[in-house]
C-alpha cells in the first residue's frame, strides 16, 4: 500500500515569532499560546503547504538533529496532529496554498 503523503501549511489566523531559537505561536481565534522547541520550530517553519511532511523530516529534521528517522517521523506526525487540532497548522493529503491574512 503506498504511503500517504501529508502536506502542512501554517494557518492565517496565527501569530508567530522566534525567541532565542524557540517559536512562539498564538492562535488569534482563541488566544491559545504555545512555544515550540527547536525541532518543532524547524517543522513549523518548513510548513509551506508544498513540501510533504516526510521530506521535511528527512531533509531538515534528520539533517539538523541527531534523531532516529522513524521516531522523528512518528513524533512529527503527532506534533502536526496536535497543532492541527488547535488550528495552528492545516493538514491535507494534497498540496495546500499557504494562507496569508487577506
Amino acid at each position: 500500500m503506498p504511503e500517504t503523503c501529508i502536506y502542512i501549511a501554517r494557518s492565517s489566523a496565527i501569530a508567530a515569532r522566534a525567541l532565542a531559537g524557540e517559536m512562539m505561536v498564538m492562535n488569534s481565534a482563541d488566544s491559545t499560546f504555545f512555544t515550540l522547541n527547536e525541532v518543532a520550530t524547524t517543522i513549523f517553519q518548513a510548513a509551506d503547504g508544498r513540501t510533504p511532511l516526510r521530506d521535511i523530516v528527512r531533509d531538515q529534521v534528520c539533517e539538523q538533529f541527531d534523531v532516529d528517522p522513524e521516531q522523528a517521523q512518528a513524533d512529527a506526525e503527532q506534533f502536526v496532529a496536535e497543532l492541527s487540532g488547535h488550528g495552528i497548522l492545516l493538514v491535507s493529503s494534497q498540496p495546500l496554498a499557504p494562507e496569508t491574512p487577506r
Partner: protein, 372 residues
C-alpha cells in the same frame, strides 16, 4: 508561572523587544477632556515608512504589536497596515474609540486575525460618555460597534478611564461590558498633556475615592490581598526593575520617535534617521533606563512599598527624574494600603500631595526635528 509570563521574562532577560505600542496617528475624531495628545498632524509616517518599520520590528523579534492613536481609523491606510503586520505574523491588538467601525470594518478586522480590540467607554450613561468625548452620539456609535465586533466573534475589552466626571459610573460600565459579553478594565491614570499642560490632572479622582475603588472586590479581586500592607523589601526586590519599559517593550510615535514607553517621553532616537535595532541596542537613553534597579531609586529605595508599588518610571520622569518617585503611584500605594510612602514621609505629609499642585516642569513627547 504561566507560559506567557515565562516567555515575557525570557524576553526581558535577553533584552528582546517582544512588545511594541505604535501610535499610527495622533489625529482623532473625539476630543476627550482628559486626552494628553496634540491632534494636529506634524508629519506622520507614510504607509511605506510604517511598513518598513514593521519589517524592522519583525526582524528585531517583536511579537505583540498594539496599534493605537489618536484614532487609528483616521488613517485611510489603517487596514493596509494591519494586513501587512499580520503577513509578518505579528500578534495584533488595536486600541480604538470604535465610532468608525461598522459591520464591514468588523468583518475586515476578523478576517485579518486581530487578537483583541480595546475600546474606550467612559460611562454607561450616553450623556456622560458624550460629554467626555465631546462627540455627540459617540456612546451609541461605540456600543453599536462593539456589537458588530462581537457578532464576528472578536475579543473586545472595554477600557474605562476613571476620573472625577465619571467616578461613580464604573459599576454601570462593568454591567454594560457583561451584557455585551466583553472584558472590562479600569484605569485611574490621567497623564499630563503633551504640551506640558497639567490642568487635566485636576480630573484625577480624589484619593478618598481611589480608596473606595481599591476596596471594591468587583474591581480588584481579593481585596484583602490587594490592600495588604507591604512586606519588608527583600534583596530580590531591591535588585529588581520597575517594569518592561526599555527592557522588552517600547513605544513608537506617528513621527517615528522611539520611547521606552507610551507613558515615558524620553526620546531615544528616530526611526527615520536610524535603524530600530540601533536605537534599541545602542541608544544611551535606552541603556540608562535599562540600568535602573530599585536600589538605585533616590527616594523609593528606602520605601516600604518598593517591592509592591506600581511606580511608573515614565510618570516619575515627567515629574523631574526617572529615578525619583511618581506621585500618582505614591498616592495609589498609600490609598491601597493606608501605609505612608517614603516620599510622603520625606515631605512630612500625612496624605499624598496631588499631582495637580505639583509645579515641576515637564518634558513631553514632541516630534523630534528631522533634518530635511
Amino acid at each position: 508561572m504561566s507560559l506567557m509570563t515565562e516567555v515575557g521574562q525570557k524576553a526581558f532577560n535577553l533584552g528582546v523587544p517582544i512588545a511594541v505600542h505604535m501610535d499610527v496617528t495622533y489625529r482623532c475624531n473625539e476630543r476627550c477632556v482628559h486626552c494628553y495628545l496634540d491632534h494636529d498632524d506634524h508629519g506622520e509616517m507614510t504607509t511605506a515608512e510604517i511598513k518598513d518599520v514593521l519589517d524592522q520590528l519583525a526582524e528585531a523579534g517583536v511579537f505583540f504589536i498594539t496599534f493605537s492613536g489618536g484614532e487609528v481609523l483616521m488613517r485611510r491606510d489603517f487596514f493596509e497596515i494591519v494586513e501587512y503586520a499580520r503577513r509578518l505574523m505579528f500578534n495584533v491588538k488595536i486600541k480604538t474609540n470604535a465610532v468608525m467601525i461598522h459591520e464591514k470594518e468588523a468583518r475586515r478586522i476578523r478576517e485579518l486575525g486581530v487578537d483583541t480590540i480595546q475600546i474606550s467607554v467612559y460611562s454607561h450613561r450616553p450623556e456622560v460618555h458624550d460629554a467626555i468625548t465631546k462627540l455627540p452620539h459617540s456612546f451609541e456609535r461605540t456600543v453599536k460597534a462593539i456589537r458588530f465586533l462581537r457578532e464576528q466573534g472578536l475579543r473586545v475589552t472595554i477600557a474605562n478611564v476613571l476620573m472625577t466626571v465619571n467616578s461613580s459610573d464604573h459599576s454601570g460600565v462593568q454591567e454594560l461590558a457583561a451584557e455585551l459579553g466583553v472584558q472590562y478594565t479600569l484605569d485611574p491614570t490621567i497623564t499630563p498633556m503633551m504640551d506640558g499642560d497639567m490642568s487635566v490632572l485636576s480630573l484625577r479622582i480624589p484619593g478618598e475615592e481611589l480608596k473606595e475603588v481599591f476596596r471594591n472586590p468587583a474591581l480588584v479581586g481579593n481585596q484583602e490581598e490587594f490592600c495588604a500592607p507591604p512586606k519588608p523589601p527583600s534583596e530580590e526586590d531591591l535588585e529588581g526593575y520597575s517594569c518592561s519599559a526599555g527592557h522588552s517593550f517600547c513605544y513608537i510615535s506617528p513621527y517615528g520617535d522611539v520611547f521606552p514607553c507610551v507613558q515615558f517621553p524620553l526620546p531615544t532616537g528616530n526611526i527615520r534617521q536610524q535603524k530600530f535595532l540601533d536605537i534599541w541596542n545602542f541608544s544611551p537613553q535606552m541603556k540608562e533606563v535599562r540600568s535602573i534597579q530599585a536600589k538605585d531609586l533616590t527616594v523609593c529605595s528606602s520605601c516600604s512599598h518598593v517591592g509592591s508599588c506600581s511606580r511608573c518610571p515614565g510618570l516619575a520622569y515627567m515629574e523631574g527624574s526617572m529615578r525619583g518617585p511618581s506621585t500618582a503611584d505614591c498616592e495609589k500605594s498609600f490609598y491601597r494600603t493606608g501605609v505612608p510612602t517614603a516620599n510622603m514621609l520625606k515631605q512630612g505629609l500625612s496624605k499624598p500631595r496631588t499631582m495637580a499642585s505639583n509645579t515641576a516642569s515637564l518634558i513631553q513627547i514632541r516630534p523630534i526635528a528631522v533634518p530635511a
